[in-house]
Amino acid sequence: MTACLEILGLDAAIRRGPRLLRNVSLSVAPGEVRALVGESGAGKSMIGKAVLGVLPRGIEVTSGDILLEGQNLGALSPGLRRRTVGAAAALIPQDPLTALNPSRRIGPQITDKLVHLLGWIRARADARARELLDEVRIRAPERVMASYPHELSGGMRQRVLIAAAFASEPRLIVADEPTTALDVTVQKQILRLIAELQARHNTAVLFVTHDLGVVAKVSQSVSVLFAGKVVEAGPTEALFRAPAHPYTRALMAATPRYTDPFASLQPVPEAVLAGLRAEVAAEDAAREARNG
């Protein structure tokens, strides 16, 4: 079976500036959840944005390929690329407070894509939206669809965003730290909800997070990033049981545990960081050599 998403040797950089992604390769099979973990600024979100084609201004992909359902996105015209990505993929954004347009009602924000991109008729799209809101356990879908975002709580909004992401039956969902902006109890519900819908619809998920606890809960495979470079990747269970890279081990040691709440936080040791910087420098040198 071909992978749903395959990234091969992806490089991205600020125009005439530093590299942000260093030769990133990964793949997500249909129905698989792959977690991307790393510190802030490691480039986890950047990968998702590159796939969806919404990199911030001034940041560009310099080399590498992104294959969505076997189709090389780089080979498509911008318009066709957007339609292809729009039809096959969706985003669950990080901050539910800024991810819904405050001056538009919820309903059209869910159905826009169905109507405009997939060409559904309005009534069918509305029915689909109600169905999805029901799936994310929103009790009064009609009322919510007629509401403005500010009338809903943060957790409700995140549910709406999950419903909106799944509405178009995407084969791939990029979940960009979907629980970071929520409080802990709501986090749990949202994670369970994503896992449930993902399993039911057999969706591939690229799950961006910095929380190893979340990784263990939701993902089947992990890629650990440092400075835009994948330092270790593998099945979640194996990686948690026997982390091979010292950075992965350090990250795990740095994760606070409920079982031992008074243990002091462990920063990543300086020796590990020095080793990583050497690896990154080696990677940059290798690229220099490749490019002549």
């Binding site: 969806l52 084609g53 919404v54 911030p56 201004r57 957007r82 339609r83 990505v85 729009g86 039809a87 993929a89 969706a90 985003l91 954004p93 990080q94 901050d95 800024t98 991810a99 819904l100 347009n101 405050p102 001056s103 538009r104 924000q109 826009d112 894509k113 405009h116 991109l117 403005y148 500010h150 909106a164 178009s168």
Partner: protein
């Protein structure tokens, strides 16, 4: 809804109806000027020069706000002057708003070279002192109402461009704009459905503010005799004329000044009120 929001909403209410009342009255006066003005605004009668307002001793009945140095009725001239003031306010401010907002939206949303072009243009434009620029423009275009309107639009679009550009830039970074793009929406479509509705409250507030500014600029230009012909009743020319006789016929200056003041204040407060009303969180 919190008590805070409710208090804010009440304030927004007062801001809307009080200025709305004055502006409505003004519009009515402007529209019905030929019927409600007690006298011909241009009729001179040197026998009736500098009559005081009705409640001051020595007044002539029928001249409620007195007459000026040529014996023209001040109230009638204010009523007819409202026509010119409102025409300028509406047309000039709308033109400036359309031009400036469109350029601001494009610059803020697209960034890159459109932004650089618009921003430099705004910088250069704002380096000119606006009143001198207006006088210069009118001098070149020839005095008259259409040149005044054109001059205001040409000068004041930068106010809109600046503010709307900044707001569009903020909007362009929002996740819902990204989501719309991922959902296959085109750039123009996204600009119109996701960005525009969120900057609209600011556009409207600025538009109302700009109407007030347009009234002032028109008054300034007629004060320096560069608006329409000196005979025509404009608030600016009335103020200019009243200035000469301030010590013995204050009413010639004060009444048009009050009309001008109330109008400009009403426009700005009306704009603020509208902005609050359009704000989806306060709605």
């Amino acid at each position: 809804m919190s008590a805070d929001t409710r208090a804010q909403r009440r304030r927004a209410g007062v801001r809307l109806w009080l200025p709305g009342l004055w502006l409505g009255l003004l519009c009515l006066a402007a529209l019905a000027a030929p019927w409600i003005a007690p006298h011909d605004p241009l009729a001179q009668d040197l026998m009736l020069e500098r009559l005081p307002p009705a409640w001051v001793g020595g007044a002539e009945p029928g001249y409620w706000l007195g007459t000026d140095s040529l014996g023209r009725d001040v109230l009638s001239r204010i009523v007819w002057g409202a026509r010119i003031a409102l025409v300028v306010a509406l047309i000039a401010a709308s033109a400036a708003c359309l031009l400036g907002s469109a350029l601001g939206l494009v610059a803020g949303y697209f960034g890159g070279w459109p932004d650089r072009v618009v921003s430099r243009l705004v910088d250069v434009w704002m380096a000119f002192p606006p009143v001198l620029f207006a006088i210069l423009l009118v001098a070149v275009l020839g005095a008259g109402l259409h040149s005044v309107i054109l001059a205001i639009a040409i000068i004041d679009w930068t106010r809109f461009a600046r503010v709307i550009r900044a707001e569009a830039m903020v909007q362009a970074r929002m996740d819902y704009v990204h989501s719309a793009r991922i959902g296959g929406a085109g750039r123009i479509g996204t600009l119109l459905t996701e960005v525009l509705p969120n900057v609209l409250p600011s556009v409207i507030a600025l538009l109302a503010l700009e109407m007030g500014v347009a009234v002032i600029v028109e008054a300034i230009l007629s004060f320096v005799n560069l608006s329409i012909s000196t005979d025509d009743p404009t608030w600016g020319s009335m103020i200019a004329e009243g200035r000469a006789s301030i010590h013995f016929a204050w009413w010639v200056l004060v009444f048009p000044l009050v009309a001008l003041f109330l109008t400009v204040l009403s426009f700005s407060q009306f704009g603020e009120g509208l902005k609050d009303r359009f704000d989806p969180v306060l709605r």
